[in-house]
Symmetry: C2
Subunit: 526 residues, 2 copies
């Protein structure tokens, strides 16, 4: 595929009038070809107009067609794997193994949603039959199911150039739900975005979908994003990125004459609690696993553990010492973008100066390009409780150990935490009886509770929830991983006494799609 640097608008291309932007190789600082063009206001309008027109047509496509589209995109990504991975390596400095894995996750997500749409149960079909004899008034026939919201705008993430980008989880779930998608590419990996965008565009066109079911816009800064979020034809937004970026979109969406939902995943510090039994039994093993999680992908994960609560005492000391050794011996990795690298370095400097904080270890910082050296800090529970800045995310391979005199200090610390994507608890069998209250407090703060594991490596499956109370996500209710994600882009539509031919297939009496439905209050398998 040839990279052209112009936005993909419906089945055409944007022009070259927009301001030029380039992607740099973060490992070398070299500017990569081609020059990208920021989408102009006219181009944005064209993409939205096409999507708006396509929405009514795409909504009416039978499920089997949406399934075909999702699978064709997955196939197309696999067919172009080497080219996509090669470009992504240059743009992000992530390793080939990581990117091959992420590509597999991306196609896996697309196929998972294809299966969900093929099975069709997600629409939550419900039927309550009429009772013309009921007194004092006859009972009508009432049926309802989830139907698509309309055009969805997706903001790609910086740190997952494939799985949370052009054809990532937000796009897959929105297309699965029956919504056209306009993606704003992340400026860190425009070439990767264009390659994947071409795959989606080609698949949609080849299968004969209405033009506008997908567009990909290039841009930088927040102007493009704000124009999209404020457009009255846009019905929902998916976002993965920083808290400031996500909150700006939330505020703009809430201030619209017609507010729309913004599903923003804004990361978190993912606290890890090591209980007394666990630190005694296997503190050093936990240190090794923590090290792997903190430094994975140069720490650039929403689920990166940024706070570790460790008991005071010798066993805890050994855990911290071992973690420090490993961190100190970890070479500095290349970070994704200049902004991320700068913010990381500043974040580390800020934490180092906070009262009560001790630097345990810093890794080497040498190497060409945008290097992020590891950092391990330590503080005590009283300092942590006294200073909320210690609970803020530093995006990168740094973590802060909070030493706790006992479970009570852990519990108090848990109580002041903000909303989190995850919390992890390490315990032995005899730890759990004393940890009920801690687990209960953490449940109220997080989307996912991990036991004896690390938060990185989000499993893509039906039961996964990648969400959590604000500021981890915008709404605390939605997920951007796992099949519940499809529900974000749909709403119930109810039919009262509808003639059979006007009902969607999913609600027809003879259940042609074999759906699980709630009929007269009873769940019935197709």
């Amino acid at each position: 595929m040839e990279l052209m640097g112009t936005s993909l608008i419906g089945y055409g291309r944007g022009g070259v009038d927009g301001a030029p932007v380039r992607v740099k190789d973060p490992a070398t600082g070299e500017s990569l070809e081609p020059v990208y063009r920021v989408a102009t206001p006219e181009e944005i309008d064209r993409a939205v107009a096409l999507a708006d027109r396509a929405a009514g047509l795409y909504r009416r496509e039978p499920a089997v067609r949406r399934v075909a589209l999702l699978r064709a995109i997955a196939d197309g990504i696999e067919a172009n794997r080497d080219e996509i991975v090669g470009r992504a390596m240059r743009e992000t400095a992530l390793t080939e193994a990581r990117l091959v894995g992420e590509l597999g996750r991306t196609t896996g997500q697309l196929r998972l949603f294809a299966r969900v749409v093929e099975e069709g149960h997600w629409v939550d079909a419900r039927i309550d039959h009429a009772d013309p004899e009921r007194k004092p008034v006859p009972k009508p026939d009432v049926r309802s199911m989830l139907e698509p919201l309309g055009t969805v705008v997706v903001f790609s993430s910086s740190n997952f150039p494939l799985a949370f980008s052009v054809a990532g989880g937000d796009t897959a779930s929105a297309l699965a739900a029956g919504c056209p998608v306009i993606v704003k590419a992340h400026q860190g990996h425009l070439g990767t975005s264009e390659l994947v965008g071409l795959v989606v565009q080609e698949a949609a066109q080849r299968l004969g979908f209405a033009e506008g079911v997908f567009s990909l816009l290039f841009g930088s800064g927040r102007e493009l994003g704000m124009a999209l979020v404020k457009d009255p034809r846009v019905k929902a937004v998916g976002f993965t990125g920083s808290r400031s970026g996500g909150r700006a979109l939330m505020d703009a969406a809430a201030a619209r004459p017609v507010p729309i939902p913004v599903y923003a995943e804004m990361g978190s510090v993912n606290p890890v609690f090591v209980l007394p039994g666990a630190v005694a039994a296997r503190g050093e093993v936990i240190a090794e696993r923590l090290h792997g999680s903190v430094t994975l992908g140069v720490g650039q994960f929403c689920t990166n553990p940024g706070l570790v609560f460790v008991p005071e005492g010798q066993a805890g000391d050994r855990l911290v010492a071992r973690l420090g050794e490993l961190m100190a011996a970890t070479p500095a990795g290349v970070m994704l973008t200049e902004d991320i690298c700068r913010a990381y370095r500043e974040g580390v400097e800020t934490v180092a100066k906070l009262p009560g904080v001790r630097l345990v270890a810093r890794g080497p910082r040498e190497g060409a390009g945008l290097r992020g050296g590891t950092a391990l800090f330590e503080t005590d529970a009283a300092s942590f409780l006294a200073n909320r800045a210690l609970g803020e995310e530093v995006f990168g391979p740094a973590t802060l150990v909070v030493r706790c005199a006992g479970l009570e200090a852990m519990l108090e610390s848990a109580r002041v935490l903000e909303g989190q994507l995850t919390a992890s608890v390490h315990g032995e069998a005899d730890d759990w009886a004393g940890a009920t209250e801690l687990v209960d407090v953490l449940k109220s703060k997080v989307g996912r509770l991990v036991f004896n594991g690390l938060p990185t490596g989000v499993e893509v499956c039906e039961a996964m929830h990648h969400g959590g109370p604000y500021p981890a996500t915008s709404d605390g209710i939605s997920t951007s991983v796992g099949t519940r994600a499809i529900r974000r882009f749909a709403r119930p539509v109810c039919y009262q006494d509808a003639p059979e031919p006007l009902l969607p297939e999913e609600l027809r009496e003879n259940n042609p799609r074999g759906l699980v439905r709630l009929v007269d209050g009873v769940i019935r398998l197709g």
Copy 2:
């Protein structure tokens, strides 16, 4: 039960320091006893603090306990039916038959949610089992289900003193989900609110629930409401009322440091489309049914039909003439409150002066108290399309007929409609083939599509959806009637590799509650 006029805070009472307010009998203008006291800032704080403390305890109550609470409230309301209905009649001027029916609906809702919680399937339990052998990394055990959000504030409606008030659908669904509830009583029926509040308070206390699981605050204006919505301990809001009131709450909730969801049902004009075959075959019957729906409860329903699209020509003329006769012959009913009556009268005057609008009929306006006389207006599709003010809600027994030259004019009109709770279409068998596009446009605008029926009389059942795109509701996704309403007050919580004893019952391996669960991607009946 003795009315005291002070807020119900936990298992106690507010004081008499707050400003005094009184309810007037809208039929006579007489001030009713007792004097009510506006909740003071200290009382609001106490109610929220109690709810916040109760949240953690109530969340942990087993389902069977929540079921008992919901049923006890229903039983208590029935046991005090005569007293509650008698007071509501004086405060609202609604008829005894209506209020007895509404009371039955209210207890029916409570019992419906009791059944939903008893069955337990609503929690959407999901399990993906571990696979320690998977390459390249072992698969963890992942389980998730819906758990309660925390304290919910409910704003009672003016027009349903029972079914959308203190123990109405919002309260029932929030308590069912496991959330404490603080109700702001509507100033139009404070005595009814106190009576029902006492029933809830007594039931919760008798069954030994944590104090704060329910409070009822009296107040007027928006101060009390704003204090509640801005309180960081409040996690979600349910509201039924005006667009301006709902939007003010939405804006305040969105501007919080930690935004929360506001589920506001703000009413709509509920357009009715009469297709050519239907107007020819039974235009006068439709006129009679429309008249019943427009004037029901003095037109004070969110689902009151405020726009009727009727074909030009003689059959349509006969429909309009018959509807006019009936409207002109309808005595003026007593409206709920001074504000509602004033707004209705002003609304009718405003519509009468709009360009292209003809007054077809006005009913008599005589009678003591706050009377709202019927009004029937007519305009043409071109005027309707030229003036969006004609699509605005006039809350009361008025409606506007829009005459359309053909289906195309109906379609164009449908396209400019705002979001609606409902739309209704009247057609004969041979109308439907030509109405596909109209039905499709309406689907994208409404929460419920009614065929050959009227929108009033919302059936309370599993399949009902009482929602619709903004401005009908705040989010276009949630419903305040039907069992999906419980989901508004819950979010998924995910457990990874959790020790069995730390899992909620709903997620334990042996499925002790016999739930329908999604296990390894397959739906399994308990």
